[in-house]
Amino acid sequence: MSSVVRLVVLLARRSPLRPLSLVILTAIATVVFVLVSDLSRVSQEGLDQAIVAENGVYGSFVVTLDSGLGLTAGAESALVGQAARAVGVEQRGYFEDMPSTRSECPPFQAVGDQVLRLLWDAPGKPTALPFGSVDGVDTQWCIGGQTIPDSALFYPSDSQRGLYQDRLYLAVAYREVILLATQGPVRRGYFVVSRSDATNPDDIARAVQARVAPFAELMGLDPAGAVQVARSSRDAQLVRAASSGIAIVYNVIRWGVLLLAGIALLSFQLVATRQRAWFYGLARALGTGGPRIVLALVVEVVGIVTIGATVAFILLVLASAQIESFASQAFQVKARPLAAANLGTTAVGLAVIAVAAGLLPTIGVLRRDPLEVLEAPRD
């Protein structure tokens, strides 16, 4: 087998123009593919983040249960989670709206009654929020003679309200302060996310109602009335569709570049094997079997693609600092052209090209009668 590889290397060395051209073609296509892949990623991530900040996570709903059911947060969370799984959506934590209170300290004493919200990932696991970020408002919330510092409060900025709404969030540590100072029920709501435009909130409601029905009956409540499901994210269908469309365009561009390179490589190889039909006919006249001829053709193409990809990788490594700096300064994004996902996808794409461009020409080579090609006049 190694003698066939030696032959391929020898022929490439003695007649380097064609293999060199193909190496350059492969390198250029690989670099473009990697850069467009990363550009697609940063564009998509940035756009999606902006959409979520403005409009909330796509397909978000809030499930609220009647406090008259007498269930703990853990029990309610478990029931909602079961219902969510049954209809194929994901449960994502819950909120607790504390009873309405009025701050005794300025300036909030002038604001009137406010509901402070606590956010939980799961019972006993508070959500990490940027407490202390209060959008420039001079906050002090005083209740029951105790001052709650602004480091325990979070008031979303304009760009965050799509996700967090226009609410004042309280750190969990001060929950009991509010409860001691007020009288009123804590209202809980459970987030479920479908990421789909097609989710019907009634389906979610029915699934939850089925699970709370025994408790509702026990408490003399109507299960249908004990469960409310409301959409919490803004539809923003056009914006989300535009984002999906942009992702499609980027994919078309990057895979199109690789496909064109593959077609060019295959075309070169088809022309070359046709022009050198006598060479392979001679090999068969010398008694060489089909597998060795296939090996020679595949080794040549795999070698070209591997060297081209290596050249591309070296270029990207050398230029990665400049690429990241440019992306950061020009677009305020964090480019990572050498990310594992980019390189992995590139490797898969190049492997498919190598196999196709290596194997397809062999069909013609092996189908031709060696005697006919040897007797035909050479170009």
Partner: protein, 241 residues
């Protein structure tokens, strides 16, 4: 005719047919002949007489439509893989168009069998072997020269050397002087017909040139796929007509 154990190759009632569209063309029509070790045979005939088809069957490049081919006293089985193996081990071929890789040297072209894995020797021995066969055709000193820089006669000699690399029992040359001038044709013919003595292999040369054919130990003339003349003691005008 029975196959002799001493014959390098024997053809027995060989028929070779081709389909061209809806027509079947019989290129070789029941030919029987044999080639003995250390002998040379010239196959002559006009264009379309079946010469190339005959040697294609003899060289195991084409399977006969009927009849049998015997190699070294054993009948050659059907099946491309076995025939390829026998061809690699026993037969060398030389073509009118040389079929040499121009960017490679004479030595590297001779090594083509080795590169394709048909010769089971190490690289060093293979190189020695290549230079030996180049010596047989008088080109040892040009072993390192690229074929593109050689004359037509030199190229054909390299092609002969390549065919001799695996020391075949039989060397078949199909119109080896077709692309050469008179002087080179004579020289190539001398080398070919000297090979039974120099390289201990039988030689079959297909040619339309009677001056080339005269160098062979035996001559066979084909016409419409059949042997019409056999033997060296034929009038030259009969051979060339």
């Amino acid at each position: 005719m029975t196959a002799s154990l001493h014959d390098v190759v024997s053809l027995r009632d060989v028929v070779v047919e081709y389909a061209t569209g809806s027509t079947i063309v019989r290129a070789v029509d029941g030919v029987s002949l044999s080639v003995q070790p250390g002998a040379s045979l010239a196959v002559v005939g006009r264009s379309g007489s079946g010469k190339s088809s005959l040697v294609a069957a003899m060289g195991l490049m084409r399977e006969p439509s009927s009849g049998s081919v015997w190699l070294g006293g054993e009948e050659v089985p059907s099946g491309s893989r076995e025939r390829a193996r026998l061809r690699a081990q026993n037969i060398g071929m030389v073509f009118q168009s040389f079929h040499l890789e121009p960017h490679l040297t004479a030595r590297e072209n001779c090594l083509m069998s080795w590169y394709w894995g048909a010769a089971d020797v190490g690289r060093r021995r293979a190189v020695e072997q290549a230079e030996e066969v180049l010596g047989l055709v008088g080109l040892r000193s040009l072993a390192g020269r690229k074929v593109a820089a050689m004359s037509g006669g030199e190229r054909q000699r390299v092609a002969i050397a390549r065919a001799l690399f695996s020391r075949p029992a039989l060397l078949i040359a199909d119109e080896p002087t077709g692309n050469l001038d008179e002087e080179n044709s004579e020289r190539v013919a001398q080398i070919l017909f000297g090979l039974p003595r120099e390289a201990d292999c039988a030689v079959v040369v297909v040619t339309h040139d009677p001056s080339v054919a005269r160098g062979a130990d035996d001559i066979v003339k084909l016409s419409r796929g059949r042997v019409t003349l056999h033997g060296v003691d034929q009038p030259s005008d009969e051979v060339s007509s």
